[in-house]
Symmetry: C2
Amino acid sequence: MMTNIFTQFPIAALNAVEETFETLVDRPDVRIERIISSGQASPPGFWYCQPQSEWVIVLQGCAGLRFENESDVRELRVGDFVTIPAQCRHRVEWTDPNGPTVWLAVHYDMPESDKG
Amino acid sequence: MMTNIFTQFPIAALNAVEETFETLVDRPDVRIERIISSGQASPPGFWYCQPQSEWVIVLQGCAGLRFENESDVRELRVGDFVTIPAQCRHRVEWTDPNGPTVWLAVHYDMPESDKG
């Protein structure tokens, strides 16, 4: 069982094969997730558009986060956090090419239909 | 507006006067909070016993967390996280005396009566 956010990275993350998503808390009203990126970005033209709100913080590495309604990419460094409202289109422009970027995401305000 | 978890510490935290608690997200189903300790511990004989569950991670410094139903104090270092179930009695035995300890806490599973 993982008990430290900076350890026990999945093999796929260690080998930079793909981004990895691990759920740490999964409840009807909240989901806490560790995401590890290794230089990946969202595919060209892809936008996340989520039914729930997300509070996300970068705990290791760095990343560029773009919101469709903003002209500049937001650069996130260690400790930077941002709230992404539900239905707000956004994408990851880049993540640190030199090592893992560790994100902690809290998803909340689930739509009623998703509540258990 | 604070956008980095490691900056803009309140004066009381910087001067180690008291622990500080700042709410970053406040919704009916979830509350995300930054806590800064500066060597403080829970008062003798004091136990936290909360109606909601709490997922908490130490992001800077270190701390000793005691659960009433465990004999050993859990030592939390940077990146260590723990889930504290609702109504589980616990206390902070110690925090880093040499500098700020930064906690990120996510409170969830609010009792029905507290839901907005």
